[in-house]
Structure formats: C-alpha cells, structure tokens
C-alpha cells in the first residue's frame, strides 16, 4: 500500500469516522444540558425570534460602524483568510472534482493562476494572524495550545495545496498524499479544538439572534 493509497483509503475512513462521532459527541453534550425556560412575555413572535436568529447568522459577519476603526486589522486578516479558504475549497478544479465524485454536484472552476494567487494571499493572512496572536497583548493572553494547533492544522493543507499545484519539491503522488493526509488531520482535529467554530458559529450566532429578538435588544 502506497502513502497515497493509505490517504485515499483507510486514512480517509478513519478521519470521517472521528469527525462524525466527534461532532455528534460534542453537540449532544452541549444540547443535553438543562435549559432554563424563559417565561417573560417576548417582544417578538416565535417567527420573529427565528427570523432574528437567522439574520444574526449573517449580520455578525459585518461589524457595526462604531467598532470598525478599532478592529480594522482583525477584520482585514480574518476576511482575507476566510474568503480565501472558501474560494480555494470551492473554486479550485481538483476540489470541485472531489465534490463531484462525492455528491454529484459540479460547477465551473476558477483559473488555476487565480487560485494560486488567492492561496498565497490566504497563506500570508495566516502568517500575519499567527504573528499578531504572538505579539498582540490581548491575543497572547487569550491564546492556548488549541489556538496554535488549530492554526497548524489549517496551515498544512494550504501549504501542501500550494506545493501540489506547482509540483515543486516532490512528485505529484507524494504531494497529493501529503495534502490529503493534512486535510484528514484537520478533519480529525475539528471536533476537539477551536476549528469547531466553523460549525458552532451558526448555532451560537443563531441562539444569540433568537434570544436578543425576544428582548428587542440590539443585534
């Protein structure tokens, strides 16, 4: 069995299993806690509260006017990184091919050169975010091993993806195997660390939007 065979076979199966079991475990442990009922008369109807929750899932992506100046760098780096990652995953031809093989859906890919440039920008944003985490007093105070491990587990697929596109330091099969393995490491880490925020963001923003709509509070 070659490294690529392992990555495409048993490695992928293990990663999928850990990801699914881990996600179910983490979500059920949160949702099975006892919820205190809220008995005060709501300012909004149930439908209004649901709409409030749905709206906040999107609206929290854009900080309010009075905050923008103070968190400009954070917004810039975070936007480049998240949009870049999204574009690479859903715009790169090889990724679209994998998605097509998995679920049968397909769409037009971005030119390879564009994806490479976006990958470079994403990588640069990630490095800047890491430096900021180490240097900025607030971020340094808040940071734990989870933050640095999560950064590493995202950084590796981006780097191996860039190397793979250029086939620079090794052969295609080796680089592809390393790229797939790095993605599998990320999948395995996802339910245990901060990477989980990619899933939790919908639930946490939605919950706040729902609760704040009840009070008519600012969202």
């Amino acid at each position: 069995m070659t490294l690529l065979d392992f990555a495409r076979g048993i490695g992928l199966q293990i990663a999928m299993l850990v990801l699914i079991v881990g996600l179910c475990w983490r979500f059920s442990a949160i949702l099975l806690l006892r919820q205190r009922p809220q008995l005060a008369l709501s300012r909004a109807s149930l439908l209004g509260q649901i709409a409030g929750g749905a709206a906040m899932i999107f609206s929290r992506s854009v900080p309010r006017r009075s905050f923008r100046r103070r968190i400009g760098i954070s917004i810039l780096l975070s936007t480049i990184f998240h949009v870049g990652l999204f574009t690479i995953i859903f715009g790169g031809a090889p990724h679209i091919l994998v998605i097509h093989q998995l679920i049968g859906l397909s769409w037009t890919n971005l030119p390879k050169g564009v994806v490479v440039i976006i990958s470079g920008l994403t990588l640069a944003a990630m490095i800047a975010m890491l430096i900021r985490r180490i240097v900025h007093p607030v971020m340094r105070l808040l940071s734990t091993a989870d933050d640095y491990l999560t950064w590493l587990f995202v950084f590796l697929p981006v780097v191996t993806g860039i190397l793979l596109s250029g086939e620079t330091i090794a052969g295609y099969e080796t680089l592809l195997a390393l790229h797939i393995l790095s993605v599998e490491m990320m999948m395995i880490w996802l339910p245990f660390g901060k990477l989980m925020h990619g899933v939790l963001v919908i639930a946490s923003r939605g919950t706040m939007g729902f609760n704040f709509a009840r009070k008519g509070a600012a969202t």
Partner: protein, 433 residues
C-alpha cells in the same frame, strides 16, 4: 449615598477550599446549553477588548471581557464540557484555585459594567455580559463579592428588600414628604390600582424629585395608580452582586405587591438593571408569565405621548442624550427616549457612539457601588466626557438614575461643567395644564 452604610469589612483573605467548592457549585449550576454554546464558541480573537471601555481606556489586556470570566470557563471545561473527563484525566485543564478567584474578583466585579458592548462586537455571537452575570453567582455564593459597598448593600437588600434597609414606615414618610415638598398628590398603598410605579434607591437617596415627577405625570393622565410600600425598591443590587436568593426575594416582593392591587402595569423607574430584572427575569422567579405588563418609564412615556394621554409643552432646547445600556442596547427601548425628546421639541445632538452602540457611563453592573473601583470608574468616564463635549451641548439627558449619579460624580471629580438631567423630570416639568 453613603448614609446608613457600615464601613467596609477588612480585605478578604485568599479563598479557602470550602469557598472554592462553593464557587464551583455556583458556576456549574449556571451551565445550560446557551452558556455552553457560548463558552465552546470563543475563537480568542480579542475583538471584545476593543469594545470594552476598561480596556480601551487602560490598554491593559487583563480587561479583555472574555478573560474576565476565565475561572467560570475553566470550571465549565473541567466539570461539564463534552471532553471534561479527558481534561481532568490528562490534567489539561487545572482546578480553579482560591488565588485565582481572589485575582478575578476585581475583574468580574470592578471592571465590568455588564453593558453588553462586548456582546455586540463578538463575531461568534457570545453574550459575554450574560456570562459575567452568571459568573458572579458562583463568586457571591462563595462569599467573594466585593467586600465594600456593593457587598454590604446586597446583604441589606437580602435581609430587608431595600439596599438601604428602608422600612415600610420610613418609605411612607418619605413619599408623603416628597409629595408635600413638590406640591403633588401621592397615592400610597391604595387597595386597587392599574399602574404601580416602583422606585430606585438612588432616587430615594439622591433624586427624590423623580418620584414627584412620576406622581405628577400619572395624576396628569388621570390614571389609577399607587406606590406600594410592600414592594417598592426595584434597584435589585442583588442582581449585580450575584446574589440569586436576594434577587429573587426582592423581585417577588414587587410582583406580589403589584398582584395584590390587581395592577395592569408595573412601571419601572429610571434605572437600567431593575428594568432588566423585572422585564426579563421576574417571570422566571414567579414561575409563570406575569399577570401585568412591565414597562420602563421611557417606554411608558413614549407610548402615552403618542396616544395623547400625556400632553406636553415644547421646550425648544438643544441637548444630547446618554443611553442606559440595559434600557437601550440590551432592553430594546432605544427609540423611546428619542420619541419623548422629539415630542418635547428638544433638538437632539447625538453622541458619536449613541443608541445601541453607546458607551456605558462607567457605573453599570454595580461598579458604581464598589468604592475601591472609583479611580478606574473615573478613567472610563472620560470616554463619555469626550463624546459629550464633542457635541457642544451643555445638557445631557438620561433615563437611568444610576447613570445620572455616575455622570454627576464623574463630573464633580473632573470639574466638568455639564448639566446631567432626568428625561422623566423634563416631561413632568413641561406638562400642559
């Protein structure tokens, strides 16, 4: 404010193992799905610091809002979180220590107004202000509320229903004296009334004119109303101290008093946290939806003005307005004071950050009641001072006596020549005959 208050007890010793255990019990009792989701979601981005006046004014990282609840978060991870067993077994999350709780006491109490700006900026939708409120429960139950003013007031409120320990007889005397001094008829302890106004102990001690103002307006409306001496002080210092039992006792006293006279509306005074408590928490303490409406005074006035039940003269004045965080940003009544000012003909010059995005006065969350926090409070007051001065206005209206008092104190401490005034009193002083 300092009358009847004992001197602060001596500085607390490092919490012992029993206190740490009590704090942990208190923390764990608050972990429901909403708190868990919030604690699981933080990405350590640090944006909340930039929304917090304590960080913005000091540049000290320890004032980062999410950092202020670190022991609470640690308790969650170790005792309740999905991987708690692994964290304990592998020693990945250490036990909270007495020394940590001692350190965090000032972060959880002295440097958080529970104003919710951090909740508004959080990209993950974490209501950090709510987490601070919950974290204070465990701290209080372990005897770790600030030992000076706030702790003393909460104890007195727990025992008597009033943070100043006012007796029913004393309150009755005060109301009649205020009525006589302001030439307004007071309704006290009537058997039936549609509207029951409550008061803030800050008004009782410092701004008694506000009670005369409520009476004058309700009389002007021809309303059926009464103060109830069996449930009058809505201040609920216990809420900000983290005393769940005292909070419940105070709240239920007011609920029962309103029910006793078959009130249709419970009117909350110019006070932020009391509105939060009665509007959103009282029903939970009561065990079912309240049989009356709970309205903050600005909502009530705005509604009555729009329906023509209150008629006012135009004042043709220019002024700015300071929003009480619990009424506007967190209470959903941001539009009400602006509607009142418009009805009065006041030309409103908004602060640079106003309405939902306004900065706290610095005294919210009980910080105004922590003597040792005064230097920090004065430091954060500078934001409000700068923004008021930038409007060029001489008068700042507000509808929270806690804010009013903090702004007054901040002004005195820095020789500020601005006038801080009550929106309620502005309405009462300009009623049409």
């Amino acid at each position: 404010m300092n009358a009847n208050i004992k001197p602060p007890p001596p500085a607390a010793k490092t919490p012992d193992a029993g206190q740490v255990a009590l704090a942990m019990q208190g923390f764990v009792s608050d972990f429901g799905p909403t708190a868990a989701l919030a604690l699981e979601s933080c990405v350590h981005c640090g944006r909340c610091a930039e929304a917090c006046q304590f960080y913005v004014q000091t540049n000290e990282a320890k004032y980062t809002p999410i950092h202020k609840i670190e022991p609470f978060k640690q308790a969650y991870e170790r005792e309740v979180s999905p991987f708690a067993f692994a964290y304990r077994m592998l020693g990945l999350v250490p036990k909270v220590t007495g020394a940590e709780l001692e350190t965090w006491q000032s972060l959880i109490y002295d440097s958080c107004n529970m104003c919710g700006r951090c909740s508004l900026i959080c990209p993950m939708g974490i209501d950090i202000a709510d987490l601070v409120e919950q974290a204070r429960h465990g701290m209080f139950e372990a005897g770790l509320a600030p030992p000076d003013y706030l702790g003393v007031l909460a104890e007195k409120e727990h025992a008597t229903g009033s943070p100043f320990g006012l007796s029913v007889a004393k309150f009755q005397d005060m109301l009649h004296a205020i009525g006589a001094a302001h030439g307004v008829a007071m309704h006290v302890d009537e058997a039936r009334a549609d509207i029951v106004p409550t008061v803030s102990s800050i008004d009782l001690k410092t701004y008694p004119g506000s009670m005369a103002a409520i009476a004058r307006i309700l009389n002007h409306m021809g309303a059926s109303w009464t103060f109830r001496t069996d449930g009058f002080d809505a201040d609920n210092v216990s809420l900000t101290a983290g005393d769940r039992a005292g909070q419940r006792t105070t709240t239920l006293g007011i609920v029962r008093a309103a029910i006793a006279c078959q009130a249709k509306t419970l009117l909350m005074p110019e006070c932020g946290h009391s509105f939060t408590e009665m509007r959103w928490e009282a029903a939970n303490a009561f065990g079912k939806e309240l049989p009356f409406r709970v309205m903050q005074i600005t909502e009530f006035l705005a509604e009555a003005l729009s329906e023509g039940r209150i008629r006012v003269n135009k004042v043709h004045q220019k002024a700015t307005y300071h929003d009480a965080c619990q009424v506007s940003r967190r209470g959903g009544a941001t539009a009400a004071p602006r509607a009142i000012l418009k009805a009065l003909g006041v030309e409103l010059h908004e602060l640079e950050d106003s309405g939902d995005e306004g900065w706290c006065c610095g005294g919210g969350g009980g910080v105004a009641l922590i003597n040792r926090a005064a230097p920090l409070r004065d430091k954060v007051f500078q934001i409000k001072r700068r923004q008021v001065e930038a409007t060029g206005m001489d008068t700042v209206y507000t509808s929270c006596s806690g804010c009013r008092q903090t702004l007054d104190h901040g002004g005195k401490a820095t020789q500020w020549n601005k006038s801080v005034a009550s929106l309620l009193e502005l309405v009462a002083n300009n009623l049409k005959d």
